[in-house]
Amino acid sequence: MGLMSWWRATIAGLTRRKRVEEEMDEEIRGHIRERAEDLKRAGVPREEAQRRAKIEFGAVERFKEECREERGGMWMETLWSDARFGVRMLRKSPGFTASAILTLALGIGANTAIFSVVHAVILRPLPYQAPERLAMVKEWIPKAVPDPIPVCAPDVVQFQTQNQTFQSLAGFWGTTFDFDDGGKPTRLTVERVSASLFATLGTQPLIGRTFTAEEDRPGHLVAILSYGFWERQFGGRREVIGRSVTLNRQPYVVIGVMPRGAVFPVVGMEQGEAADVFIPMAFTPEELAGVGDNFNFSVVGRLKTGVSVEQATADLQKIARQIEETTYPVAVRSQIELNALALPLTEQVVGKVRRLLLLLLGAVGFVLLIGCINIGNLLLVRAADREREIAVRLALGASRWRLLRQLVAENLLLTLAGATLGLMLAYWTTDALLALMPKDVPLFHEVGLNLAVLGFTVGLAVVTGVAFGILPVLTGSPRDVNEALKEGGRTGTEGMEHQRLRGTLVVAEVALAMVQLVGAGLLLRSFQRVVETDPGFRPEQVLTASLSLPGSQYKEEAQIKSFYQRLMQRLRQLPGTKAAGASTDLPLEAGWTHLFTVEGYQPPPGAELNRCNHSVILGDYLQTMGVPLIRGRYFTEQDNEKSEHALIVSESLARRYWPKEDAMGKRLKWGPGDSKDPWLTIVGVVGDVKPRGLDLETTPHTYEPYLQNPGDSLNVAVRTPAEPGSMAAELRAAVWSIDPHLAVARVRTMDQVIRESTSPRRFGLLLVGSFALLALLLAGVGIYGVISYSVMRRVHEIGVRMALGAQEGDVRALVLRQSAALLGAGVAIGVAGALGVTRLLESFLYEVKPTDPLTFLSVVLALAGVALMACWVPARKATRVDPVVALRYE
């Protein structure tokens, strides 16, 4: 049949369907009538003639069905009639339909929501041209810091000019500037970038132009705005080009605006947030002189076509060796071994979160699987109930293929309805999901419903519909029509085959739920451990804010010092203040890593370099944070520019270098032993503070008095007996009373700082935990379904038992035993499965083993509890069976 005639038949089949059906009926009726009349003429009595005519014709419905198929144009019609029949069947059992659709909606909705995040974060490419050819360039001093680090300023230039493998290379460095538009000063994220950055990324400005090479030298106040900032601040007006914006109290001329979506930098490239404004890197002569110092600058490069990351790394290593030999002082050279490498950009950005997201996708997949098992179970029950219907339809001439198609159509209706509802759920939950999302998830694409997500959902619906639809048909299609019709009689018990399959499904369900719960349990225990970890300070009742004095205004060190000293005074005088101080960095957000030399200490050969986190502190910072003093004293105002250089060290540092001695009075200095830096004398030892995360190792820490090493940026901290958030207005007022144009940024309580640091864990735990609870609930429903159905089927048997003298307890035990057997098998398999799967979780755990017996035990107890609850109702129902009624049923 040609395509056209096929199509015509399809259309005709649809439009004339009713008439064609009537004509077919009429034709067949006519045939039988004529036959009967012929027989009558041959002398057969009228009724007998009619009977014989019908028998001779054969199975009318079967031939009609064959006719329909021969007529062509059937498929649409069959689909339509299958669908209508499906809707009718589903409406006949609203309870089943509702619970199935709801289960599917939950399962598919959760999967869709998670997938939409996975799609936006992992599957979509970075928002730059040909991102697979972009690589981060890092330096690496394994002797000092185990991980690769950013690049120091003179080396950025060396890499840019010496390399053979990159098409272009660009440095960038994120900082914050105060932005003043006449209202309240705010803090912006400003990215200093090489002029070559935009060419490297392959990003064209939306309007205006990018930086010229000339502007990449000191003295040019030009700026390019990000799309977001442009929209926010200038309402997307194009006349912004040529206007000036006041950044750190200096006028910058706007020369361009970046296109929407070209977010830079994204998480993973460097710390900090996406830039609001770009300004030229324009390295200062001081920066370029800092050989082997301040490894601050991130570098991204575009590989030449056909060059691999390995080739680029080899190239960079060669340059690094040259740099070390030709520019580094001999003393430094002996201490470090400068290395360099290229890292694929996508891996840098997505690598860390990929595992978390895939874990979530796996967990949410489990939920859907359990949901499908539940529905499969329900379908089996229905298949058993419908065995008679199916047998009758087979007897009337329906083909098995047609029946199968019918059942699949019914299931597809279910899953598509579930998917629709699920999509709505996903749509509504996406915002909540995004609010929970930790900051280290790189979100440069909008998370939401798009074609790919829609395709995923529909695909999921179809696969689940066909999969759990076919299962009961394959195992449960009636073996023999006669058998089925007989078995479908009043006293029929469910086929053994069905019962066994349903049991197996529940066991599988319990096992899956067990694995999921163990996973969630381990994450929960880890989270507990993390939160219970002593951070080394007392976070409650402390408010902090970040200040940065613009160099254009505060040119002299004396001005800077005076500002902060006055601020400390003001803060101390506030009525709500118990203590006030300031530090270059806050606990959990350690900034600098310093290398140092200890006087009179010979490191064992092959030892790593001495390094510590370092903070410069002002006022009563340690007291404000509640870091306990162990030996010696805190700093006072007497630790100033006139006095001896003083240092406070953490307990772990003191223990490491002077395990048996008193650290007080000992000295150390930054850099190698022959550096020009002064010796610093230890005047106090304080407790260890978690530098980067509650779940990360404590590292040695040093504190230096601000007056001996002043700088323009500090985090101020205030301890108050009241609720710390209520101090925010007073804190701002205190700052603005000294300088009304200074932005007071990142006003947070220390509790918030802790929450932020644990947010990835909280995110994972919350999602995996809720999926596990969902799994538990579904497993409970599954057990309930099977047990209560089996009780219903065994009413007769129970009646007999009770008539023969079985007590209530015996009957209850009968039901519970069945449930216990299912649970036991499920738990056994689940434990084995969990032991296998939780090993994948290891990197997400903290101070909890993947085999943690307590977790396993609690999960088993929880499952047992749910199973008990699930079979309580059916068990009670079983004991209420009245033998007289049950037997009268016979």
């Binding site: 049949m1 036959r35 054969g58």
Partner: protein, 113 residues
């Protein structure tokens, strides 16, 4: 009815085309004519006639029109189209050749092989 032969798969179409080639017929008429021509030697499952008729209509070898039967009842009459006539000829030739071939095989004597 005497001895009856089951219809070979695929030959039903040929028989229908042949029956209809002698003049338009309704479904029951086709049945009667085949029985009549074959003198009752061929057994046709009556219901099976209809899927075959529908198939031939769809393939364009037959066309169907509603008319009135001998008993003055509304009935659907089938007649051969040009394509159907061609098909009948081709099928009939093929069938004859097959019958001759099978016949000569079955009738072969030992020496002839």
């Amino acid at each position: 009815m005497g001895e009856q032969a089951q219809i070979l798969q695929g030959t039903l179409d040929l028989l229908i085309l042949k029956a209809v080639s002698l003049g338009p017929l309704h479904g029951y008429g086709v049945l009667l004519r085949i029985e009549q021509i074959s003198r009752g030697a061929l057994l046709i499952e009556q219901g099976a006639l209809y899927p075959a008729l529908f198939r031939l209509v769809r393939q364009g070898y037959l066309k169907a029109n509603w008319g009135t039967s001998e008993n003055n009842r509304k009935a659907k009459f089938y007649e051969l189209t040009a394509a159907g006539r061609k098909r009948l000829r081709a099928e009939a030739d093929g069938w004859k050749r097959l019958v001759e071939a099978v016949g000569s095989v079955l009738g072969a004597e030992a020496e002839e092989v």
